[in-house]
């Protein structure tokens, strides 16, 4: 099959199968997204981040935890042997940043994996049943929304104890409410549709209707919302790391690295600056990609 016919197959206005329709939809979204240059920049940043995390051992020239000679290799400025200089433990900052990409990706992925199902479950249940179930669940959601995110995450980490796992749990606990609200709004539009009534008449239980027929329809908009939030998740995790409540040294977490370099800021600026650039570039990448995705999938939502 040549390129032209593949394209025709994808763009066919009479898809023969569900798979063809889905792939065609994905292709249309992609070709729209591809025209947005900034979104493409964002996508490349995210792809580079993922590749960096996968091949960290190959890319990083030095060990991220064990430093070099403490007498001669501490706080060296950026050079060809140490691209981003070395820190106070004589560790190569570039290698640490490369390995830190794994932690950043892990935080983003785990928060998404934990918070999305919670948000979906709460939102679809509230929207589907309505009545007092809706009132109770939405009140709980509002209470979580009533705290600024970083502050609530701080309180949770304080209770659970510092560490990257607890930081992830804390960020996930504070992230789900907006997804719940979104899923609820979508569910309320779907629940009275004829096909839902048809399934109900066939004898399907509520749980089956919600998981089998409502959740799949809410999934795409919630996923776009999660993508838009990823930059925020990265910044919150970095903030917790900076305050000493996220990843613990000697883990090469970018926020904690900034905190470590803070003491030397005036004389050895690169120690704190380099990891900051890494956080900035990655969260810019997620922001650009999320903006582009929203423009394509939901052009009216500008909030």
């Amino acid at each position: 099959m040549s390129d032209v016919t593949t394209r025709d197959w994808l763009l066919s206005d009479r898809p023969a199968s569900r798979r063809q329709a889905r792939l065609g939809q994905a292709y249309r979204t992609w070709s729209q997204l591809r025209r947005n240059k900034l979104a493409m920049v964002g996508l490349s940043i995210v792809v580079v981040l993922i590749l960096m995390a996968i091949f960290a051992d190959v890319i990083a020239p030095y060990d991220p935890i064990v430093g070099g000679d403490l007498r001669t290799e501490r706080l060296l400025p950026p050079s060809w042997t140490h691209l981003m200089g070395t820190d106070d433990q004589a560790r190569d900052i570039f290698s640490r940043i490369v390995h830190g990409s794994r932690l950043t990706l892990m935080v983003v992925a785990l928060v998404a994996v934990i918070a999305t199902p919670i948000g979906l479950a709460v939102g679809t249940t509230a929207g589907y049943f309505g009545g007092w179930v809706d009132v109770v669940l939405m009140r709980i959601t509002d209470i979580f929304l009533a705290f600024p995110r970083l502050i609530l995450a701080l309180a949770f980490v304080a209770a659970l104890g510092p560490g990257i796992e607890n930081a992830i749990i804390a960020i996930a606990i504070t992230s789900w409410p907006p997804y719940a609200r979104l899923a609820r709004a979508e569910t309320m539009q779907i629940r009275d549709a004829d096909y839902i009534a048809a399934i109900r008449l066939q004898g399907a239980g509520s749980a089956r209707i919600i998981w089998g027929h409502v959740v799949p329809l809410c999934l795409s908009s919630v996923i776009v919302r999660v993508t838009l939030d990823m930059a925020g998740i990265i910044l919150t995790a970095a903030g917790l790391g900076f305050l000493g409540l996220g990843a613990q040294p000697p883990q090469p977490e970018w926020g904690a690295m900034i905190a470590g370099g803070r003491r030397f800021m005036i004389d050895f600026w690169w120690v704190a600056t380099m990891p900051g650039i890494a956080i900035f570039v990655v969260s810019l990448g997620f922001n650009l990609l999320g903006d582009g995705l929203r423009d394509v999938l939901d052009p009216k939502g500008e909030t």
Partner: protein
């Protein structure tokens, strides 16, 4: 601005309905506050820190320990403990800080003006810069100014605030010496005036201490600009989209056809309508600055609520952490509520619908 009598009447007629809505609102807010307290209470119960040891110290005898255990109500069931917590909090008692040995409410009263001053200056800068930039972006939609403003905003969204703060200190304090360093005021000026309001700009100005005033401004400039930049990113983006929505309306076309000058269309006709949702946005970003202040205050050694919170955290002073969290939550809810109310008061369409 002239208001026709009929319009005025409409405003008053809506009042009983507003009253009904207010009743519902009070219930909602009360439930939210109760929820906030349940959350902080439960977080306080799962901490690995023993609350009794925090009170009596780790060298107390068994009997002292037991007495404190009972005095704190820890032998009672959980719901009863929550009842005690609730009663105390409502009477303005959030417990004692282990670190400062003072009631937490007193501590928060002491540190709060610093945060208030910083956040207020931040939101003023953010609004004064963000609104015109957003309008400019909307008027020049898709052209160079719009693109530049969008990128500047995106940088604000993406950069970690504590990192920008450190860079700012390095460049403007250490290298260029344009601003003063960390802290609110130099120690040389600290005792030249009495802190009546706790807001140093007001205190120094009212007492005519202009040298001290200049010093306070020099300390405030960098962190306030930084917070202002972050709120500016959000405010300019929202202003742009509200203005675009207004400029596409038919009344704007009608005004253009009538020959109303373009500056008047933008600044008077469109902006007045865009201002209603904008008030909500500004109130929300003001609340968001409370969050930003935790990290900013740590970087700038600013003795405010954020620093109090992080200090208490690092010293496992759970009462203070939860008290601070609760206060911030209450302020946050209050600002949200205020923005809702302002929306109702400012927008006649919302008023009529209720």
């Amino acid at each position: 601005m002239s208001v026709s009598p009929a319009n005025e009447g409409g405003r008053w007629r809506a009042l009983p309905l507003l009253g009904l809505k207010a009743g519902k609102l009070v219930v909602t807010v009360a439930i939210t506050f109760l929820g906030l307290m349940v959350v902080t209470f439960l977080i306080g119960r799962v901490v690995p820190v023993d609350p009794v040891l925090a009170v009596v110290g780790d060298r107390a005898s068994k009997s002292t320990y037991d007495a404190a255990y009972i005095a704190l109500g820890l032998d009672k069931p959980l719901y009863y403990q929550f009842w005690i917590y609730l009663k105390q909090a409502l009477s303005g008692d959030l417990g004692m800080s282990v670190l400062t040995k003072k009631p937490i409410v007193e501590d928060i009263k002491r540190v709060f003006p610093a945060t208030l001053e910083l956040a207020t200056c931040g939101i003023i800068i953010g609004t004064l810069v963000g609104v015109p930039l957003g309008i400019w972006g909307a008027v020049r939609q898709g052209r160079l100014p719009d693109q530049v403003i969008r990128v500047v905003g995106l940088v604000g969204y993406s950069a970690p605030i504590f990192w920008l703060g450190l860079l700012g200190l390095l460049v403007f304090y250490a290298k260029l010496q344009w601003v003063a360093g960390p802290g609110r005021i130099d120690i040389a000026y600290e005792y030249n005036f009495t802190q009546t309001t706790g807001i140093l700009l007001l205190d120094t100005a009212m007492q005519g201490q202009w040298d001290a005033f200049r010093n306070v401004v020099a300390h405030l400039a960098l962190p306030a600009t930084l917070l202002g930049y972050f709120s500016m990113a959000y405010i300019s983006r929202m202003t742009r989209s509200f203005m675009l929505a207004e400029l596409g309306q038919e009344y704007i076309t009608a005004a253009r056809v009538k020959g109303v000058p373009e500056w008047r269309i933008i600044w008077v006709h469109a902006l007045r309508n865009a201002a209603v949702p904008l008030v909500t946005v500004i109130a929300l970003s003001y609340a968001g600055l409370l969050e930003g202040s935790v990290l900013t205050e740590t970087v700038f050694a600013w003795p405010g609520l954020g620093q109090y919170l992080t200090n208490s955290l690092q010293n496992a002073d759970m009462n203070a952490v939860l008290g601070g969290t609760l206060v911030i939550g209450i302020i946050f809810v209050g600002l949200n509520l205020l923005s809702d109310l302002l929306y109702t008061v400012l927008d006649p369409r919302v008023r009529r619908r209720t």
